[in-house]
Amino acid sequence: MRHSIIGSCIGFGLCLLAFSPVSAQAFDTRLGPSPLTEGTRSNVTGEGRAAATLDGSRLAVSGDFHGLATAATKAALYDGIRIGAMGPKLADITVTPGQAGTISGDVTLSAKQAAELRAGHIYVRIDSEKAPDGNLTGWLMPPHPFAGEDVPVPGHGFLPQYDVPSR
């Protein structure tokens, strides 16, 4: 199913994948506004994308964002418990200040951290002035092409669960 639509390269992260060295592994994510409540959503706005390439133990991260309600202040990689479950900070990365900008960074991962990355546990978080506990968040994952809104695809069509057995 998802494999059958792998040609639908969307977002620059997946496009980067096509030009990555054979030995390197590529990862990609949307950065979505989160976490938020009705009361904080006016401060937790924006979106972006991040891509990462793991070459040996070196993880190169890049990305961009826009639409923040207040200027970005910090960005970091975090080691989640699972896909979609937050965890401790792994390393700071660079973020350009402003309501739109870029992120970048080079991080050396341990073997365990690289395994966590392959399992989809590592995530990117950008903080901002009025959202210091998280403004944009996204879990870095191996490419999982998305057919596009409103387009039926064969099979499950949801995120592969790299770390959770189906039963």
Partner: protein, 707 residues
């Protein structure tokens, strides 16, 4: 990590009761006094005069409130209230009203007024000015006038406002219910088996593009609406906000009779999802937990009975099912600490006399009573039945799902790893006497507001007698419906709550940090409380052996807050939530998928920004129908998921899609509705770019053009 998002402060201080010197509040006494009357007018209907909350409305005073809000700023409280209240109508009051109400709530939690007016920009931590131990201003008297929710119910008298005389009405028999005519939609999911499938096939993939609006009908606003139109012999019975019931000519939309049973809604959530027909009566379980029998020809009340005391917050939202001359109903909002518990009950269709009750909480000394970590009975709550049951005539068994235990989280509840029977279970009951035949606990000790309450679908696979259901966690379960034995399961949406599901027993193992969570700790959950799937019902297409499941994709950080163990509080009040997008979805909250129920394999799925908030209807013509949050109502090809036709309606397309025929012409009816609970509230926060009007409950009926 989670220390980053732990509330390190005040939870322990609050629980220990240690004395802390409080600053004066950032508001004045006149503001708080004005806020008290504005609270009564706009908030007390849901949150109650004593601010203890009820149902889906959290406590606004005391330990529960301070646990949730003590470590947050006054500005966030103000902005939360302004953005989201009154329910479904955020930002609809003037700024000074929001300021005054916030001042009153701070005062009600012990904050002393100061010299400066509250503006909504004050960042002072609430625990620094309030302790939740008592009000600085007395709560309003319980006799004060409470306004209806913001979009008000039409004023006017109650009772029969349009008298009817339907001369041709044929009484509904047991045989009709067991073998419904193709043209009828006699009950919630159309047939006893809960299929939500119409055998009509005039509308096909080849001609569906010709669908046209035939008639529409505005329904009561001012409350939640998730109705299932019920159709018999060309008459449509419709339940509205304020328990108004109407009979309409299903061909033309002409009103035949109307009974405004009432009362006017005092809260903006909780909808009656369905009526039931039996004999010459229409059965109406009401949002104030009564059961009415109306004469189907005239709309006059034949009898009425009390299911439970609506003044205590009890309600029926799930509708009813008629079996062997009995009307079976569930009960909801059994979530505050009290000596009573939720139950399923049956009433004689002719007289209203109660036939039996089945209590859905196992008390001490009863079978299953040892699954609550020895909690006193009054602190065992939840297990509501807010979706009507289904029925298997072959085995004479009615199947009901139950909601999770309350309060939501294990640490707040104090139930440890106990299974909390019969919460989040399938119950198989004898409809004649209410005796339990078997039960199956889908999520023992549920911890994250992930209900397994939804419809149980009765399906035969050859000689195999199965019952299937899918809950908020998105696991589609298959059980042997004779024995209750687990047979199979499959994930239908991304989830990270369970690390594994035992292939022999189906017992899930929760993620370790969920099992070990303590009060005050944030725990991530995918899906969140909107599901996975929620009340929008699945549809089973027997011709293709496919179940179509409307779903929602978002995640939540959930925190169990402290809750006093005393009669009164409890319930859904003791949990805080923060939302985030489900990884891998590109921010698409909506998901629709088709699963083969024999193989449990997926056939297709699609995603879109807006979540689907109607049930799915499949038809024998090979076309399925579904509506979404973003006002779109569409027809898809059942076996491919391909959109064949769509239109945009006046507000969110919410409710239960049905199909019926009059004089051989097939109709499709769907509701636009508001107030759908989590499936609507979560996208409102996560998809601020999508808008729909805050009123517009209505019914729309489509058909192909006549030659």
């Amino acid at each position: 990590m989670r220390k980053r998002i732990l509330v390190s402060v005040s939870v322990s201080a609050l629980l220990s009761g240690s004395a802390v010197a409080l600053e004066n509040g950032p508001f004045t006494a006149p503001q708080a006094n004005a806020g008290r009357s504005q609270y009564v007018a706009n908030c007390a209907g849901c949150h109650k005069f004593d601010l203890k909350g009820a149902g889906e409305a959290p406590a606004l005073a005391g330990t529960g409130f301070m646990g949730a809000w003590g470590n947050r700023g006054a500005r966030e409280l103000y902005s939360t209230i302004q953005a989201s209240m009154p329910y479904n109508n955020g930002n609809s009051l003037d700024v000074s009203t929001y300021q005054n109400i916030t001042a009153y709530l701070l005062s009600a939690n012990g904050a002393q007024p100061g010299a400066m007016d509250f503006t909504g920009r004050e960042t002072v931590k609430i625990a620094a000015i309030a302790d939740g131990k008592g009000p600085a201003i007395a709560p309003p008297p319980a006799t004060a006038s409470v306004a209806a929710p913001a979009t008000s119910y039409p004023p006017g008298r109650f009772g029969v406002t349009v008298a009817g005389a339907i001369k041709t009405y044929q009484p509904v028999t047991d045989d009709m219910l067991a073998h419904p005519k193709d043209a009828d939609w006699l009950m919630y999911r159309r047939n006893y088996q809960g299929w939500s499938h119409s055998p009509l096939k005039e509308i096909t993939p080849a001609n569906v593009k010709g669908l046209q609006l035939v008639w529409s009908w505005a329904m009561n606003d001012g409350g939640a609406s998730e109705v299932t139109p019920i159709i018999h012999d060309g008459v449509m019975f419709l339940s509205n906000v304020a328990n108004t019931v109407q009979a309409l000519d299903a061909k033309t939309g002409e009103l035949l009779w109307e009974n405004r049973i009432g009362p006017a809604p005092k809260r903006a959530y909780g909808a009656t999802r369905s009526l039931a027909l039996y004999g010459d009566k229409v059965f109406v379980p009401t949002t104030d937990a009564k059961l009415y029998a109306l004469d189907a020809k005239t709309g006059e009340i034949a009898w009425q009975t009390v299911i439970e005391d609506g003044k205590e917050g009890y309600s029926n939202t799930g509708g009813a099912i008629a079996i062997h001359g009995k009307i079976l109903v569930g009960l909801t909002y059994c979530n505050r600490y009290q000596t009573k518990h939720c139950f399923i009950s049956a009433y004689d269709a002719a007289t209203g006399k109660v036939a039996w009750r089945f209590k859905t909480i196992a008390e001490k000394g009863e079978p299953g009573g040892d699954t609550w970590n020895d909690l006193p009975n009054e602190f065992r709550q939840g297990a509501e039945t807010w979706i009507a049951g289904t029925y298997d005539p072959d085995t004479n068994t009615t199947y009901w799902g139950t909601a999770q235990a309350k309060p939501w989280t294990r640490p707040t509840r104090g139930s440890a790893a106990g299974a909390t029977l019969y919460a989040n279970a399938t119950l198989a009951l004898d409809p004649d006497n209410g005796k339990l035949k078997w039960f199956y606990s889908h999520a023992p000790g549920e911890a994250l507001d992930l209900d397994e309450v939804f419809e149980r679908t009765v399906i035969n696979h050859g000689e195999q007698k199965d019952v299937l259901t899918v809950g908020k966690a998105g696991v589609l379960w298959k059980l042997d419906r004779v024995t209750g034995k687990y047979k199979d399961s499959v994930q239908t949406v991304f989830q990270n709550v369970y690390d594994s599901i035992d292939p022999k027993t189906g017992i899930p193992t929760y993620r370790k940090d969920i099992q070990e969570a303590k009060v005050g700790e944030w725990v991530a959950s995918c899906p969140g409380p909107a599901g996975g799937r929620d009340w929008p019902a699945t549809s089973y297409d027997p011709g293709n052996d496919l179940m179509l499941i409307p779903m929602h994709q978002s995640c939540v950080l959930m925190r169990g807050d402290p809750m006093e163990k005393k009669i009164g509080p409890g319930g859904t009040n003791a949990g805080s939530q923060q939302l985030f997008e489900m990884p891998g979805t590109d921010g698409n909250l909506g998901r629709l998928a088709a699963y083969n129920t024999s193989t449990m394999k997926p056939l297709w799925s699609l995603q879109q920004k807006a979540p689907f908030i109607t049930s799915v209807l499949t038809t024998a013509g090979g076309v399925a129908f579904v509506g979404d949050y973003d006002r779109r109502f569409r027809a898809i090809e059942t076996v491919t998921g391909k959109t064949l036709w769509q239109t945009r309606l006046t507000t969110s397309v919410q409710g239960h899609v049905v199909s019926y025929a009059v004089d051989g012409r097939q109709y499709i009816a769907v509701e636009t509705g508001l107030g759908g609970g989590s499936p609507v509230a979560k996208p409102t926060a996560l998809l601020p770019g999508l808008h729909h009007p805050g009123n517009g409950n209505a019914i729309f009926v489509f058909a192909l053009p006549q030659n």
